[in-house]
Amino acid sequence: MSGATTQATGIAAWRDAIRRDRKATIGAVMLTVFLFIGIFGPWLVGDPDTLVGIPLQPPSGEHWLGTTGQGQDVLSQLVVGTRVSLAIGFAVGLAVVLLGALIGVTAGYFGGRVDGLLSLFFNVFLVIPGMPLAIVIAAYLPSGPLTLGLVLVVTGWAWNARVLRAQTLAQRQRVFVAAAVVAGESSFRIVTREILPTMTSLLVAQVVGSTVYAIGAQVGLEFLGLGDVSAVTWGTNLYWAQNDSALLTGAWWTFAPTGLCVALVGFGLTMLNSGFDEITNPRLQLERAWRKHLLQRGKEPTRSTPVVMDND
């Protein structure tokens, strides 16, 4: 019972926090728009694979974003692609953080030789360039969303593991963890009930950040032709635009809208994240409080340090 109510206040608290911060609000609105397009859009536009007219028609009243090199409607392709690309993006973003948390928290909590080994493992993965590795793996496996997701998780988890290890290491020293150990709680319970809840905001930020990575990398791989080229996604749209020489025929409408959507989603997520940072980072909170305080007294805020207040 109490679990359900704390959950509700938790989400309500986040919602309030997002509403208070301008950046977070902008990010949340942008994201919501794209989620709506992704969920409901495909029912409103026609089948993206139908050949609707002459290839490479510029935007017109009939086809708002023109037609592709094959004669398909660019708008329907864009909208249907949104659903697939966002779905893969969020799924991979979540999976990457889960894997990173599993390895990072284990390393940070147990320390010693376990930490040494796991740290070595994710540091090696961090230093091996992800894109070429992803390309090679994707080329060997049968193409499809599952392969794409797998490849992105394999090449993307290490950074999260590293950050979460450091955070766990810091929490491990705290008194409440020591108390739980003395009380004889199991390691699993200490990690899931005592340590992980203190990192909620970090985990949320990581999921958001990893989703940005997943969408960008996914579009890149598909652009290379490593996705399922018969599926309609943002990346394959760009792949076909490049293949049909969209650039050299001047057909900007076949690639411009897709890239813009990738950027808008990425930007929205980044804004949401920097908003979260302002909300949860005590340093930035303090600075904002000083600023407000000074402005109320009719003083122009300068670099906000205690020195400024001493002069006041």
Binding site: V127, M131, I135, L224
Partner: protein, 327 residues
């Protein structure tokens, strides 16, 4: 010195991990790897070439351990197999043709972006809430949200195709012979301007924000206040006291960014038909040229590891603490 040797050991380990990954990747394919791999080459390669390829990859009847040793042996001899897309050239030769261009492109982009971004970060932190600080971070973060290669497509369309200010592709004009002549070098710069420019534009925001945020923290510290209280010139306070210390996280980030920027510039190369590894990679993907793909992965990984070690050297020079703690 111990620090450098420990780092070197780590990179050697990472190189070994990459080699091992490379060995096991073909064996990840569903079904029998040898049959699956060679089924694609049948009819395109003669029996001798097939046998040579088989031996390079160690895809023989021998045990896995001896296959692995055979593979390591051939890599150390510089034998990466034979390219399918550029048959019958050895993979090592094919990679060699593109490596200079990729290192030139990604290296220039990274250094230019790091320098400009860091300087802008210093400016933004020093004149807090000035116009640089208000306008640049969010607009650059917005630009950074675009895929590199998409920015490249737009730049190519507007500045190359529509306005005709820049060439549409390749690393230099077809009518020129490579050499250290002023005409040739100028042409190389003209061809590199758009690819380098778009990668710089996409990565500038990260450097700016990283430097700005650390600078703000450092500017609030006691020793900077002391330097200001002593009446030192602002330029000296900013550059010698604050910026030098604030640079450390960015330098660490430089090592991390290497692989990432390289990955992005590979895609940029494709848009510009730039004759580097990215262009070779897409040829390899289209022709299912696995030896070439794996060779490129290996060479790029080794290049990134080497560059990371150089970054460690710079770090050692910048941060005396790393020197003190090991001596």
């Amino acid at each position: 010195m111990r620090y450098l040797i420990r780092r070197l050991g780590f990179y050697l380990l990472a190189a070994w991990a990459a080699l091992t990954l490379n060995f096991f990747l073909p064996r990840l394919m569903p079904g029998d790897p040898a049959t699956a791999l060679f089924a694609r080459f049948r009819g395109r390669l003669g029996p001798e070439a097939m046998q040579a390829l088989r031996e390079t990859f160690g895809l023989t009847e021998a045990s896995l351990v001896s296959q692995y040793l055979t593979y390591l042996g051939s890599v150390f001899r510089g034998d990466l197999g034979i390219s399918i897309a550029y048959f019958p050239s050895p993979v090592a030769d094919v990679i060699g043709t593109g490596l200079v261009w990729t290192i030139f492109l990604a290296g220039t982009a990274l250094v230019v972006s790091f320098t400009i971004g860091t300087l802008l970060g210093i400016v933004a932190a020093w004149w807090r809430r000035g116009w640089v600080d208000n306008v640049l971070p969010s607009s650059l973060v917005f630009l950074g949200a675009f895929p590199y290669f998409w920015l490249a497509m737009v730049a190519l369309y507007i500045l190359g195709f529509s306005l005709g200010w820049f060439p549409l592709g390749h690393a230099y004009g077809d009518d020129l012979t490579p050499g250290f002549t002023a005409v040739f070098l100028a042409d190389v710069v003209r061809h590199a301007a758009l690819p380098v420019g778009t990668v710089v534009l996409a990565t500038l925001g990260g450097w700016l924000l990283s430097m700005r945020n650390t600078m703000i923290a450092v500017l609030g510290s006691d020793y900077v206040n002391l330097a200001r209280a002593k009446g030192l010139q602002p330029s000296r306070v900013v550059l010698r006291y604050a910026a030098r210390n604030a640079l450390l996280p960015s330098v660490t980030g430089f090592g991390m960014a290497l692989g990432f920027v390289l990955g992005g510039s590979l895609l940029t190369e494709i848009v510009f038909s730039y004759p580097g590894e990215g262009y070779l990679l897409v040829q390899a993907v289209r022709n299912q040229d696995f030896p070439l793909m794996q060779g490129i992965f290996l060479v790029i990984t080794l290049a990134v590891l080497g560059a990371n070690w150089l970054v460690d050297l710079v770090y050692l020079w910048l941060d005396p603490r790393t020197r003190d703690s090991v001596s």
